[in-house]
Structures are given as structure tokens and as C-alpha cells.
């Protein structure tokens, strides 16, 4: 009898766990589906880095993204300031499974370098954003656990599949009432301590389908540093193709 009860409790517990996993995955898929079909996008960005004494340093960059359905997206980032890195650019082919392909262009010597995409957890240009925070968010890159629902907000815990990630988990809040757009992400470091909080704000709906935030603010609770990523514009009408995401395109960008 005891055994039966134990089995019932255990299977009930397992059932709840797997249910939470399924629901988490479902939400991530719903968010992906809601954003499907943007095809290509370009944006001009301003990045404001603030240290704990309030000293500010700025970067300007342009990001171009090409949506791919079968595999991960392709993206090209071009720096325009600070001036010593002007023209420096990176090309990334994201893969749903396995490491991404990445190339760096150094304009002073006109050199294209294939670089390792292994450094996921490192800081992007000295900011509070890690490379993995900015790479294309593919559903396959995490496993999931649904935590709770509050009003229209769905809170899902995500565990990176890649052991090289700098996080044990992320807690993501989706807005069900607005195309499953992300409102906040909390990042927990390898020791499972709260490291950073990313807040999305100034959302606008483009093409009646795609929610895009104009401001992404990343606060590092441990170092007390902050980085604000400001999207000055979103252009969905550039009709970019594969030809705009080649090593030749990287050199001429």
C-alpha cells in the first residue's frame, strides 16, 4: 500500500515536472512563432556603457539580420564608433544545434578572420551584454520549466544546453497579451547567484505583427555596471538576401 502511494506521489511529481517542461517549451515556441516571418531587419543602435561611478562611454553600431527557418539566423554587425574601431564588423551564422560560425573583419589591414564562437560568456565590446545575450535566440538552445502565470505575464525558467554558457539559468517573463514579447530576463551565474537583469522597454508594434523594444537595459547586480542598448530605428523593408551575408558583404560593410 505504502509502495503504491509512493508510486502515485512520484509519478504525480514527475508528471508535474514534465508538464512544467512541456508548458515552458510551448511558450518559447509560441514566442518564436509570433515573431516568424520578419524576413530581414536592419537597425541602428546606440550602446551606453555606465560604470558604478556613473562614467559613461558610448558605441554606435548597425545590425542586419536575415531570418532563416531551417537553421539559425544570419547576422552582420558593423561598428561606426568609437572611431578607432569604425568599420570593424562581424558576420555570424547561427546554428540551431552546434557552434555558430563567426567571422571578424579588420578594416585597417582588410583582413577577414574566422573566429571561434566558443567565447559565449565573455563581454561584448566591454559592455554588460555577453555574446550569448545578443546571439539569435533559437528554441533549441535551452531546456525549459514553466514557473508561473501572473495576469498576462508568463514566467519561464530556461537552462542553456551549451555547457560553455556563463549561466546556470535565465528567468524570462513573456507577455502573452502582446505577441509573447519578452519583458524581463534575469540571469543567474554559474554559482546560481543573480548576476544581471535585462529590461525591455518602449515597445512598438511593427507591420502589425512584430513587437520590438526601443530600449534594452542590462543591469549587473554584482559589478553595479549598466549597459543601455538603444535601437534608434527598425527597418523591415530592406529585403536583404543571402548575398548580403557573405564574407564579401562583411568586407564592404
Amino acid at each position: 500500500m505504502k509502495n503504491v502511494l509512493f508510486t502515485v506521489v512520484l509519478s504525480l511529481a514527475l508528471y508535474t515536472v514534465s508538464q512544467a517542461q512541456d508548458r515552458g517549451l510551448e511558450i518559447a515556441k509560441a514566442a518564436e512563432k509570433a515573431d516568424l516571418g520578419f524576413k530581414s531587419l536592419t537597425s541602428d543602435l546606440k550602446m551606453v556603457l555606465r560604470n558604478k561611478n556613473g562614467q559613461v562611454s558610448e558605441r554606435a553600431l548597425e545590425v542586419r539580420t536575415l531570418e532563416l527557418v531551417e537553421d539559425g539566423d544570419k547576422s552582420l554587425i558593423v561598428f561606426s564608433s568609437p572611431k578607432d574601431v569604425k568599420g570593424t564588423s562581424t558576420l555570424t551564422y547561427t546554428h540551431k544545434v552546434g557552434p555558430d560560425d563567426q567571422w571578424l573583419y579588420l578594416p585597417s589591414i582588410k583582413r577577414v578572420k574566422r573566429i571561434s564562437s566558443n567565447n559565449k560568456s565573455g563581454p561584448f565590446v566591454g559592455s554588460e551584454f555577453a555574446y550569448e545575450d545578443l546571439s539569435s535566440q533559437e528554441v533549441e538552445k535551452y531546456t525549459y520549466k514553466f514557473l508561473k502565470e501572473e495576469n498576462n505575464h508568463l514566467v519561464v525558467e530556461q537552462y542553456p544546453v551549451d555547457p560553455k554558457s556563463g549561466y546556470t539559468r535565465r528567468v524570462v517573463t513573456y507577455n502573452k497579451g502582446a505577441g509573447y514579447r519578452i519583458e524581463t530576463i534575469e540571469f543567474y551565474d554559474r554559482k546560481n547567484a543573480l548576476l544581471k537583469t535585462l529590461t525591455y522597454s518602449d515597445y512598438k508594434l511593427y507591420k502589425n505583427k512584430f513587437w520590438r523594444a526601443a530600449k534594452l537595459n542590462m543591469v549587473n547586480h554584482q559589478s553595479k555596471k549598466e549597459t543601455l542598448l538603444e535601437f534608434l530605428n527598425y527597418d523591415f523593408d530592406m529585403n536583404l538576401t543571402d548575398d548580403d551575408f557573405t564574407q564579401n558583404a562583411l568586407k564592404r560593410s
Binding site: K83, R111, R114, N119, G122, D243, R252
Partner: protein, 400 residues
């Protein structure tokens, strides 16, 4: 002296041009003007080998850059100038690194004019990089190049990228004058270097390259036919004999990117009427990234350098090992350090190099460069010339 006057006039013209640009804003054409001013100070650690040389070399360089997009963005004109004023009259020089018309349409591109092109994957030596002449008086590492007149057609297909080059004019390698460092006992006047071709610099050269990336592999195959960029130099009783031969060169560059390891190979086979040889550079770069969540990356580079010509090579790298370390702090100022040592496997010679840089504020950068020549063997025909040329240099760059 004449040359210096020309350079001052060019600087003046450029500055007035910059000024004129400011007065005509709001044009529909998208264009962009930039200027870098570099103040370089090189201090040589040992008393000079020759009477006319000194120990301290302050130097000023200007790098103006102008690009203009014509009708929409498919067509553009790109100009990159270079001017240096130095104690050495030969190092005082100007050049158009680039001055070309560029057209992009779908999967192909066309470039006509002076341009810089880089090929290769290794760090310590650039064997396959054959298109541009080296501006050898600019830096010892050979990474500064002169603008090469060309017509380049590039097409990206499912099979890879094909580049075709027509190179109508050869440019001679720059060499130091009597007052300059890194010189030879005999001053090789740039104009004294002879050509194998009867039409001299007008030999019509051609080149092609095929490049492809699949999964973790990046592969390049190249071919060059024409006047070589590297002169054949022989010191003899009369002084010096130098000649640019007609060469055929096939090249291979290969990189395999496997997580933290980048495996690299560059190899060339060059043949001319005077010599045939094989050379290769092979090795790896291993990076430990974000050490203890500090953001710091440390890369370790090991490369083996081989040149079949041995002592006849117009370079120091015949059978050597390069060990380097690249430290990137990934901080707000982009601080980075590259340390390297090239050790000759047969002789005692060692070259130690350091390059470091850090941004200051938003529009300035400080660069440190050092080369130390250590235990240079007397029977090193190329390197022994520079035994006394160890230096430390500090460069301040202001970006406008």
C-alpha cells in the same frame, strides 16, 4: 627636401578640403570623411650601426579616408590616403592605399583602381598574401601595404567565392634611406632595383583565388603570375644586386575552427627562372576565454615557419618557431597585448615582439610597439643587418 614640401602642400590641401566639406552639409549623396593623425616616437635601444643614423625617431603620419556612395549604394568611390613625415627621407612618403571605384550587384562585385587585398590565416608570416607590395619602411612586420592598381572581379556562388585580378602595374618595395633604421650596409635605392621583364613595372600580371567555407573549414586556393612582390637581393663586391623576377605562385590557406582551437596552414610554391621553392607556415591558436568571469581572453599561438630557400630568402624565416600570446581585456578601453617570440631552430637568433593598445577617451588611442633582436647569429645574411635595431615605439593616434 623636395618631397617634404610636396607632403606639406598635400596636408594643406587636405585640411582645406576637410573644411570645405563642413560648409556643404545636407547633400543627398551619402559620403563620409575621416582623418587619423598619428604621432609616433621610436627609440632605438642600441647605438646605431651607421654614422648617419640616430637613436630617436619622432614621426608624424596622416591617414585621410573618404568614401562616397553614388546613386543609391551599389556604386561607391573609396579613397584612403597615407602621408608620413620622418627623419629618414625615404620613410617620408605618401601613397594612396586605396583609390577605387566599387560596384556591387547581387552576388558579384567589381573594383577598379588602387586597392588593398589581404589573403591568409596565419599570424607570424603572410606567405599567400601576394597582391599588394609591402610598405617595408612603415613597419617591420610587413603588414603595411602599398595600394595596388587592379581590376578585381569577385563572385559569390554556391561553390564558393571566385576572385579574378588583373594587375597592370608593379610597385616596388619601399626601402630605408641612409638616415633610416632597418637598413643594409649598402643603401638599395628603390629605383636601382631591376626587373626581369623587359617592360619593367608594366608587365601585365594576373591572379585568381578561390575561397570557400564549409562547416568548420575555411579554404583558399590562389594562383599568381607576374612580377613578384619580393625582390631577389644579393650583396656582392660591387655592392648590391636586386631584381624583381617573373614568378608563378600557387598558394593554399586553410583554417579549421574547432571550438577553442584554430588550426592554420599557409603554403606557397613559387617558381621563376632563377629559383623554385616551397614555403609554409603551420600552427594553431588556442584561446582560453573569459577567465574566471573576468572578461579576459588569453590566446596562445604556436606556428612553425619553413622556407626551402634557407639563407637566400629575403626574410628571416627559414626554419623558425613562433610562440605568441594575445591578451584581450575586453574592457571599455579595448586594451589588448600581443607578445611574440620567433626562435631560429638552427641558429641562436631570436626576435621578440610586443604590440599593445588601449583607447583613450572616445577619439584617441595609444599604441606600444617593441622589437628586440636577440643573439642574432652572424651567419644570418638578412637578419644580421638589423642587430642594432631593437626599439620601443609609442604612438598616439587621434581620430577625426
Amino acid at each position: 627636401m623636395m618631397k617634404k614640401h610636396i607632403i606639406y602642400i598635400l596636408i594643406g590641401l587636405f585640411l582645406s578640403f576637410t573644411h570645405a566639406q563642413d560648409e556643404t552639409p545636407g547633400k543627398k549623396l551619402h559620403h563620409d570623411l575621416e582623418l587619423d593623425i598619428e604621432l609616433e616616437n621610436r627609440y632605438f635601444l642600441e647605438a646605431p650601426a651607421f654614422y648617419s643614423q640616430t637613436r630617436y625617431y619622432p614621426s608624424l603620419a596622416l591617414k585621410p579616408k573618404y568614401t562616397i556612395d553614388l546613386n543609391g549604394g551599389g556604386n561607391s568611390i573609396n579613397i584612403e590616403g597615407f602621408v608620413r613625415v620622418d627623419r629618414d627621407d625615404e620613410r617620408t612618403h605618401f601613397d594612396f592605399r586605396e583609390f577605387y571605384f566599387h560596384k556591387v550587384k547581387g552576388n558579384w562585385e567589381l573594383s577598379i583602381g588602387l586597392k588593398k587585398v589581404f589573403w591568409g590565416v596565419t599570424e607570424s608570416n603572410h606567405l599567400v598574401d601576394v597582391i599588394n607590395q609591402t610598405d617595408a619602411i612603415e613597419s617591420f612586420d610587413g603588414e603595411e601595404k602599398l595600394g595596388q592598381p587592379m581590376v578585381q572581379f569577385s563572385i559569390y556562388t554556391n561553390l564558393g567565392t571566385f576572385d579574378l585580378f588583373y594587375l597592370p602595374y608593379h610597385r616596388k618595395r619601399t626601402l630605408p634611406g641612409a638616415k633610416g633604421r632597418f637598413r643594409y650596409p649598402v643603401i638599395i635605392k628603390t629605383d636601382d632595383v631591376l626587373y626581369e621583364s623587359s617592360v619593367k613595372e608594366w608587365h601585365q600580371d594576373v591572379s585568381l583565388r578561390y575561397g570557400n567555407s564549409f562547416n568548420s573549414v575555411d579554404l583558399g586556393l590562389s594562383y599568381f603570375y607576374g612580377t613578384g612582390r619580393e625582390p631577389l637581393v644579393q650583396f656582392n663586391a660591387q655592392g648590391v644586386a636586386a631584381l624583381y623576377p617573373i614568378i608563378h605562385q600557387v598558394g593554399l590557406d586553410l583554417q579549421i575552427t574547432n571550438n577553442t582551437f584554430l588550426w592554420k596552414l599557409e603554403s606557397i610554391y613559387r617558381s621563376s627562372g632563377l629559383q623554385k621553392f616551397l614555403a609554409l607556415t603551420a600552427g594553431f591558436e588556442y584561446t582560453i576565454s573569459n577567465i574566471k568571469s573576468s572578461g579576459i581572453d588569453i590566446g596562445l599561438i604556436l606556428e612553425y615557419l619553413y622556407d626551402e630557400r634557407g639563407d637566400l630568402a629575403f626574410s628571416a624565416l627559414q626554419n623558425d618557431l613562433f610562440f605568441g600570446s594575445r591578451i584581450a581585456f575586453n574592457d571599455v578601453q579595448d586594451t589588448s597585448i600581443l607578445l611574440g617570440i620567433i626562435t631560429d631552430l638552427e641558429k641562436s637568433s631570436k626576435i621578440i615582439g610586443i604590440e599593445a593598445s588601449r583607447r583613450m577617451g572616445n577619439t584617441m588611442k595609444l599604441e606600444l610597439e617593441g622589437r628586440l633582436f636577440n643573439n642574432i647569429a652572424d651567419n644570418e645574411p638578412f637578419l644580421s643587418n638589423f642587430k642594432k635595431d631593437s626599439f620601443i615605439g609609442l604612438t598616439l593616434i587621434k581620430y577625426f
